[in-house]
Amino acid sequence: MAGVHVSTTINGDATEFVCHPAETLLDVLRDRLGLTGSKEGCGTGDCGACSVTVDGQLVCSCLVLGAEVSGATVDTIEGMAVGNKLHPLQERFIEHAALQCGVCTPGFLVAGKALLDRNPNPTEEEIRYALAGNLCRCTGYDKIVTAVSAAAKDVRKQQNRKKR
């Protein structure tokens, strides 16, 4: 099978790769680019462990073809921290013990960021529905909701500082 040449931007860096036409974005990220932070829990779009954003849109990267991201901007968990500064979600997940095994955590963080980017003041119910596409089997979600809620406060503070 002939490969497809793809030019894209991943976590802010211009990136080129060659993949099979049928290869998923998740496989490209993990196997070709070494970005193993996105996890494969199911391969069918049911668990959210492979969540990334493509042009700002939250997607399961196991349901996107590598060839589809040509010219797009892809953001993964590896790009969430800015330099040595963790995103408030990352800080709050650690602080509130919102992870146990941690394998679902990258997906939750990416989905949580997609939520806060569009709604920095979500209710508990809005948080729970925004994260309903991500499975966690360890925590019962309680501490995850607490952490996202605390991070939302941080994000609002940051935004207020910028406005002033």
Partner: protein, 749 residues
């Protein structure tokens, strides 16, 4: 083994605080490496061909076309895995489960494997393998499997001198139940069923195996027990233990499912065949069909009580299916069934039954939730019949210190009574319920386990500590171990770096199961720290030129005792470490221990639900977990265990189930059709940690990982039964089952 296990009732300085976990940054940045995240130069990708039949003779496997496919480097069948087990039936069963021999025993049973240059090629090769099956009659239901005319799963198994699917019968109890039932004013008898569920860890099984022609190998694998995996893999493949290094990757959930060897010998054997690294990762479909589910069960319970609320007799008959290989899951169900209660006359009889379903694996307090569902539902029925509050009825009959447990031992100090008293006092119990809402509560028990444990504690010249443990960190235990080391040494938490060792870097550790991680590695860490303190006191004594008897360890320093030595300033750990090169070399503490005395664990849960009478759909609207932790080392992660177990139990109670077709095939092997709770399905889960110290642990620790999954089936069941106005006796209480029960009740008038 002589060691200090008396509970010291000490005041803790740092135990019980909530510092950030040391592996936090790795896990929020995607850097942590799990089973499927490792690769090796020149690696091949392996895939496994699985039986589509529930039960079939394998007449012939033709691999010739697959072998000829370009890019295929090795094809493996059971012929490549000769039986080296020397009559060890348990190991032979593992071997047969890894790769079917003359028969496929369940839908999903491995029959062949391929290693190729990439996944595409491996998948294509699987399609070229021709397996000639002769389909045999199958049985997947536990009750049907016990009938005389049932298809026989393992011809070697006999019961009452005839081939049978009953692999084991176990009985526990004491007193005379017949006499006890005669004394009862009220007797309730009821039968229950629970369906098969999966642990549902988000990370599929994955490994990277490398074996060279020199007989040396390495295995990177997601596992709860890398030492056990080493021992089993080495034994099945004829390798020497020291020459197989097994590294436990970060583990993406296990819940018991990663205590079992499923496919790792296949990856090692393929690698040995071609002398290249082989990566083998299960798909989610394979995880469901070929790894880990818990038993489906059928349980009868009978309880007799006086009108004053005293239980006079209790008995249970439990039928648990093990999949196609004999196990002890029914036995554990029988042992746990009555453990919460102080009973004069009690009996449990369990049948372990073979069926054509995947090999059953441990799942968090394995076997206890199903028995508790039956017992705790019946307890509510008896309480209602005698007109007593169900909490008061449980308190009246609760086991206490000195109670002889139904499974044999006599209890020391235990937490069942205190958790029930806490339920009684909890504001949750006084909250008002709306229409179609119901409240239930239930109790649960788990044994807990200790086991073989080995820990190293090495002190660097800058005074920082490498703590090396051999139990895996599946939910924050590096943080707990670091807290314990910091407490013992009297130094800050962030001076400790806790590492999980591979099998060649530390002595044997039993699998991280039975809620033993914090209990047993915690114990070994305490003793290793005390060992290091002894060395540091000796170094200080040498420096001070005084007798070591006159040196004690206090707040992170060696302190010279007595008026005579009052001129000697305390010598800090850092100072002692800095001089270690000149005072006798590296300073380390070690401990090897069989961590006996795991304290039994009890919990009581309260659950409110709302049932929609039109759809049968149930929403959990409030949930409270109260459990005895002995001593909570890091309360955040104790609460996390309570909440996670409750959430799994709620999923089991309401939705999760393996659905088998008439053809014996699993119909829902995906997260879409096997529906685990998502964030919007659950309320916040309230927790209350009780601390009734375990006298057999220096800090009073009891394991906390498992008990939290025991009460939910019954707590939810009791709540749903109240809300729907009809007793539910089949788990999961999915909308169709609840609707059916409501309609049947209405039809009866």
């Amino acid at each position: 083994m002589a060691h200090d296990t008396s509970f010291t009732n000490q005041e803790f300085k740092i135990i019980g605080t909530r510092p950030e976990r040391p592996d936090g940054v790795d896990k929020v940045t995607g850097r942590a490496r799990y089973g499927a995240d490792a690769s090796a130069p020149g690696q091949l990708i392996a895939r496994i061909l699985r039986s589509p039949h529930a039960h079939a003779t394998i007449r012939k496997i033709d691999t010739s076309k697959a072998e000829k496919l370009k890019g295929v480097k090795a094809v493996l069948t059971s012929k490549d895995l000769p039986d080296l087990t020397n009559g060890n039936q348990g190991n032979f069963d593992i071997l047969e489960n890894c790769m079917a021999r003359d028969r496929a025993l369940y839908d999903g049973h491995a029959v062949a494997a391929v290693a190729a240059i990439d996944e595409d090629t491996a998948k294509k090769a699987l399609k070229l393998i021709k397996v000639d099956y002769k389909i045999l009659p199958h049985v997947t239901d536990v009750d049907l499997a016990m009938q005389d005319d049932a298809p026989i799963v393992q011809p070697r198994i006999r019961h009452n001198d005839a081939p049978s699917n009953i692999a084991q019968v176990s009985e526990f109890g004491h007193g005379d139940v017949d006499e006890g039932f005669e004394k009862a004013d009220v007797i309730i008898e009821k039968s229950y069923k629970t369906e098969q569920t999966h642990q549902g860890y988000i990370e599929p099984h994955a490994c990277l195996a490398t074996v060279g022609p020199d007989g040396q190998g390495e295995l990177w694998v997601t596992t709860q027990g890398h030492y056990t995996f080493r021992n089993i893999c080495a034994s099945l493949l004829g390798m020497e233990l020291a020459k197989l290094k097994v590294t436990s990757s970060e583990i993406g959930g296990g819940f018991g499912g990663k205590t079992h060897v499923w496919m790792e010998p296949v990856a090692l054997a393929l690698s040995r065949k071609v002398n290249r690294p082989v990566k083998l990762v299960m798909s989610r479909n394979e995880v469901f069909r070929a790894s880990g589910p818990t038993c489906s069960t059928s349980v009868d319970v009978k309880i007799g009580a006086k009108k004053n609320g005293t239980i006079t007799a209790a008995s249970a008959t439990l039928r648990y299916q093990d999949g196609p290989f004999p196990a002890i899951w029914g036995m554990l169900g029988a042992m746990t069934s009555w453990a919460c209660y102080d009973l004069k006359n009690v009996k449990s009889k369990a049948y372990d039954v073979l069926v054509n379903r995947p090999k059953v694996a441990a799942y968090r307090a394995p076997s206890a939730p199903m028995a508790a569902f039956a017992v705790e539902s019946t307890i509510d029925l008896v309480a209602a019949e005698i007109g007593m509050d169900p909490v008061e009825f449980r308190i009246k009959n609760a086991a206490k210190k000195g109670t002889r447990a139904s499974y044999g031992p006599t209890y020391g100090p235990i937490g069942i009574g205190p958790t029930l008293q806490a339920v009684k006092k909890h504001p949750h119990m006084r909250a008002k319920l709306g229409p179609n809402q119901g409240r239930g509560m239930a109790c649960g028990f788990w044994f807990n386990f200790g086991g073989q444990t080995c820990t190293d504690l090495n002190i660097g010249v800058d005074g920082t500590i490498n703590l090396t443990i051999g139990t895996v960190d599946v939910g924050g235990s590096r943080a707990s171990m670091s807290l314990i080391a910091a407490e013992e040494l009297g130094i800050p938490y962030d001076q400790i770096k806790c590492n999980v060792a591979d099998t060649s870097s530390l002595g044997h550790n039993d699998t991280t199961e039975g809620s033993r991680g914090t209990f047993s590695s915690g114990m070994a860490t305490i003793f290793a720290a005390r060992d290091a303190i002894k060395v540091m006191c000796e170094r200080a004594a040498k420096e001070w030129e005084i007798d070591v008897k006159d040196v004690e360890w206090k707040d992170g320093s060696a302190v010279a005792k007595g008026v005579r030595n009052s001129n000697l300033a305390p010598m800090t750990l850092k100072e002692i470490a800095a001089k270690s090169g000149a005072t006798g070399g590296p300073i380390a503490g070690h401990n090897e221990v069989v961590a006996d005395g795991a304290g039994v664990s009890f919990a009581s849960h309260i659950c409110d639900v709302e049932v929609d009478p039109e759809t049968g759909g149930t929403k959990v609207i409030r949930y409270t977990v109260i459990q005895d932790a002995g001593k909570a080392i890091h309360p955040d992660y104790v609460e996390g265990q309570f909440q996670g177990g409750a959430a799994q139990g709620i999923g089991w109670a309401l939705n999760e189930e393996y659905v088998y077709g008439e053809d014996g095939r699993l119909q829902n092997p995906s997260f879409l059709d096997y529906r685990m709770p998502v964030c919007s399905d659950l309320p916040s889960i309230d927790t209350e940690i009780l601390e009734i110290p375990n006298p057999d642990h220096p800090y009073g620790i009891r394991g906390v990982g498992e008990t939290s999954i025991v009460p939910p089936l019954a707590a939810v069941g009791n709540a749903v039964s109240m809300a729907a106005g009809v007793r539910m006796n089949h788990v999961p209480m999915s909308p169709p089952r609840i609707l059916k029960a409501i309609k049947e009740k209405q039809a009866q008038g």
